[in-house]
């Protein structure tokens, strides 16, 4: 087998192993399926260009790191568009509700947790999602976020505390969510 065959086979395996997980990642963070498909296309195009740079043990983390950047660029593009529309004194079109196809849990509690996530800082929400929705271990999260494993542990701990605070507030307002611990830290360390 030549190196060319090796590269092509590796890309094929990469695509087979991770397309669905990258698609799920993009769907969770996009407003609709088409937007998610665009993200996935950008991610795998980048992977094709740089297949030799992808570390064997961190393939998914590498792909999700690319997806994160693609999404950030897309958000920036949306923000530019919205500012332009504002300047033109036009109302920005309302984004459609996320298409939560393949939804796992549409209960009110799940809705409240998602709402609480939405009120967190983006970095806190992202690390919680990587740990619980993508179910990545700390070492993989560190690759996605380009930080150390220790930093992941610290950030994750703080993000959990902040989410607990948000849920506690929500519980105080509605009584619907039932946090299991009475002690919710209010750590405000960035």
């Amino acid at each position: 087998m030549t190196a060319v065959d090796h590269v092509e086979q590796r890309y094929r395996l990469l695509f087979e192993r991770h397309w669905r997980r990258v698609f799920a990642y993009a769907l969770r963070r996009s407003t609709n399926r088409a937007a998610a498909e665009d993200v996935v296309a950008d991610v795998f195009l980048t992977a094709w260009r740089r297949v030799g740079d992808i570390p064997d043990d961190y393939e998914l983390a590498w792909l999700l790191a690319v997806a994160r950047k693609v999404l950030a660029n897309a958000y920036r593009g949306d923000a530019r568009r919205d500012r332009l529309l504002a300047r033109l004194h036009q109302a920005a079109p309302a984004l459609p509700a996320p298409e939560v196809e393949a939804a796992a849990d549409e209960s009110e509690a799940a809705e409240q947790v998602r709402a609480a996530l939405g009120r967190l800082r983006e970095a806190d929400a992202e690390i919680l999602q990587l740990a619980n929705w993508e179910q990545l271990p700390h070492a993989q999260i560190a690759v996605v976020l380009d930080c150390t494993v220790n930093a992941v542990a610290i950030r994750l701990h703080r993000a959990r505390q902040r989410l607990s605070d948000e849920l506690a507030k929500e519980s105080g307002r509605t009584g619907h969510i039932e946090p299991t611990s009475p002690t919710f830290s209010s750590d405000t360390t960035p």
Partner: protein, 261 residues
């Protein structure tokens, strides 16, 4: 991790809006397969080796014309290298070493791979002395070499000229190469010109170019050709069409924006 953390994690997992297990696998998703084919230029269902030989088969009669910057250049087909869109750059003087497949640049395969070395993608310390050979699969392979060494000969491969302006080893580029007009499925020069004109005026992304070409083909009632994008390297964001009539493809490659050198 405390019980509280466990409870919180359970809540979070229950709030996951997309159950991954209910999404299709690539083998079940036509969209995923189309994406794979568009990116790699190889059929999803076939093996990579067999698929690539679609480009590299003997007697390849494809005409690959690359239009860019207002000038049209058409490359004649070489007896040695027939995959003009990509170059394989090796990190060591053997075909089993680490390799990068990169889009071919007009300056030739050695210059193409030198850039990969300069960028640090193949090693540190800048590009070593490089030589270009033609692999049996019809791909240009660029390998490091000792001064005066004969890497291609040692590997049993024909050498390519280092300063080649196209990926041809024996035939220089010609100013124009017209497909035989009586060949079945041949695209008329008028349609090719319309495609080139549609893409020449401005810098179109791959997706925009694909849409424009699809419209031109539909208008001309050409329903046998497909548009196949290839990866655009950094600094070459504008789509340029190539015509591979044997494979019935209009291949999109990346070129620098109009007006840039």
């Amino acid at each position: 991790m405390s019980d509280t953390d466990h409870d919180l994690d359970n809540l979070l997992r229950a709030a996951n809006p997309v159950d991954e297990d209910r999404l299709p696998l690539p083998s079940e998703s036509p969209g995923a397969q189309l994406l794979y084919e568009k990116i790699t230029g190889t059929p999803y269902s076939g093996s990579a080796r067999r698929a690539r030989r679609r480009w590299a088969g003997p007697g390849l009669a494809a005409v690959l014309a690359v239009a860019g910057g207002g000038a049209v250049a058409a490359y004649a087909i070489s007896s040695h290298v027939s995959s003009h869109l990509a170059v394989t750059c090796y990190a060591a003087p053997n075909l089993e070493s680490r390799a990068l497949i990169v889009p071919a640049e007009a300056a030739g395969p050695v210059a193409t791979c030198s850039r990969a070395w300069v960028d640090g993608r193949l090693g540190t310390g800048g590009p070593p002395l490089l030589v270009a050979c033609a692999t049996p699969q019809g791909v240009a392979a660029v390998l490091p070499s000792a001064p005066g060494g004969d890497v291609c000969g040692q590997l049993g491969l024909p050498a390519l000229p280092a300063g080649a302006t196209s990926l041809t080893s024996t035939t220089p580029p010609t100013a124009a190469s017209t497909p035989p007009t009586d060949a079945p499925g041949t695209m008329s020069p008028g349609v090719r010109d319309a495609i080139i004109t549609a893409l020449r005026a401005t810098c179109l992304t791959s997706a925009q170019a694909e849409l424009s070409i699809t419209k031109v083909l539909a208008k001309a009632n050409v329903n046998w050709a497909v548009v196949t994008p290839t990866p655009f390297p950094p600094g070459r964001p504008c789509a340029s069409p190539g015509f591979d009539e044997e494979a019935k493809q209009v291949v999109l490659t990346g070129i620098p924006p109009p007006g840039s050198s």
